[in-house]
Amino acid sequence: MNIQTTDPVSESAAVSYHRCIVDLHCGTKEFANVPCRNFEDVLGGFGRSFQELAQRQIDNAYCDENPLIINTGLLTGSTVMTALRTYFSGYSPIKGSKKGLPAAMWSTGSGKFGAKFKWTGLDELIFENRSEHPVYVVISESDSGPKVELKPAEHLLGLSTHDKIMALQKEYPDAHFAAIGPAGENWKNNYMGAVALSTENQLKSKEDKCRFAGRGGMGSLMGYKNVLALVAQSKDKVRKPSELVKAANLNVIKGGGSVRIQPLSRGGGGGTWAAYDVLQEFHAVPYNNFRPAGNDIPEKLFRENVEPDYHIQTEACYRCGIACHNNISEKNVDGNKGEFLAKFDYEPLNLLGTNIGIHNAGQAARLIQLGDNYGMDSISLGVTIAYVMAYNERHPEAPILNGARFGDYEKARDLIIRAGTGDCPDVGQGLMRLSEQLGETAYAYQVKGLELPAYQPESNPGYAWAIAGGHMSMGTYGLLTREGKSDLDSWVRGVTEDKLHIVGFDMIGLCKFFDIAKGIGTQMVVDCLKSEFNFDVTIADVRAAVRRAFLRGLALEMRQGYSKDEFRIPAETIDKPNPHIKLPNITSREFIDQLEKRVWEIFEPELEGILN
């Protein structure tokens, strides 16, 4: 970034970002310092990429005009804790309106690739058109600025995400990597391809401990463009944190919301896995395609029940003190760590475990690992498989695909492999298409074409307004369970004011665990911007930019043909309330109708002209 002002809000054009547009068809590269249009552009991530996407009318995700935009946030690569995010944006192959138009989407992950990318001196890379042959792209620093090179990638074809990264590491030992798996390569039949991002732990241990930008099929879009991997090659550029940043980082570790995510050994809550215990208390752990049965079966995957048989290790991304990863390995007879199995984050664990009837930790771990290796979004994958199983339970006389039923590990495994290799488009193309094709959409747990994360929609009607998937772009998932809010006013305020701010993290380059409760409109973030860039901005400035970016996302959805009816949680949760869930019912038809009416009354006037 080139910064010539202390006031990026009213003088945003005095901040420019370094962009490279690569035409994959002819191999040309165009570098430019682009002046920012507004503060959202300065903050970066989807705040900037969605403005680019808004300039294009795209009718099909797999077309030359649909770009793949890779960028970072303003703080990515800085000394601020968790500042490692990379963003991948484009029109999504999997998320789309019933009219058949693809939705604008972004996906993000940590690992160290984002910081390395930023340290090359590049802020944004846009891929136009597609390459005729498989390539990987090397982004590196040089005396004359960042360099971008396309290299033949035939040797990487067919390799898993992890194996691609391992192969590239041999050639570029000082670099970090972003890679798709076979799923992304088989983009025609797989719309849920993810992008794996390398971590320090992975490169050192050689174990497949990637982080993923999973949602929305950005890996499939990358596969369509015939780009199999990205290499970011630069020296580490870590400065000493200023006193202000040190104070913020300390607050994140000791005082902020992240304490709940930190390892048990450090007095933390033990990571996202701990959500199991709490949600089970309400019988709200997704079970057999989001139909908790009021039993204690989900407890089999409680940490306390897994720990005796497996080795669990808490690890972190580069220089992050939060350490949110729980990595599970086999336990040797001597009690030491055996073969590494998978990451045990709450979402993949539930959606490839309890929600498909798998209650054995080892089996769940193997399925997570398999999905990761093929490079698929574990949420889209797990939820689509759960639907297949639910369909087969309902139609024992005419099951689909391999006839998989809840708890059938081998058949779940088979579906993952076939989806990953492009041999099972019914799963690979996602739940919306499959359920519409079968004419049974009421129990298809997706909204606007994107499968739901592992929080029961009965506890979160706010999913409907998430602009980039479930809980990560609409923070209402704890409003009922945690805060106990079941009144309409709280929900209207939650959706239209407080909880949409979660998307700010997907602009600025930080993880949500930096301050999940408050978002980025805080003194802590304002202090970091002052310290890192000498910016004089206020909390109100930051919040206004996040709101505009969110609204732009909503306006883009409307422009891509979504009707208001599509902003709704699955019909089963409204029409057949689950008697086992021990929470007030906030998904009755009446509540939903009122919520929709009042939310649109607030949002609609603000959407007018926002894309101009």
């Binding site: 809550g269 215990d277 984050d345 805060e483």
Partner: protein, 86 residues
Amino acid sequence: MSSAQAPCGRGLMLVHVKLVGLFKTGRFVQQDIICRDGTKIEELIERLELPLQHLGIILLNGLHTSSETVLKPKDSVVLMPFVDGG
């Protein structure tokens, strides 16, 4: 001070307490606890030495409540941490 079998009456009452997640570790899963009349949930939390930074949800007889709530005989309290997902 907190045995399920202890006699009640004379300004004392029995409440049922359930601990969830990491709160169970080194404590108990559920137990009847004797408290003085007028005890607030926050006093109970203090007595159990629960790490406050982890306290996410308090349910009283199945409904969300705050730590300032005064307990009544035979109340059932669930104390939970809360972890946000991903």
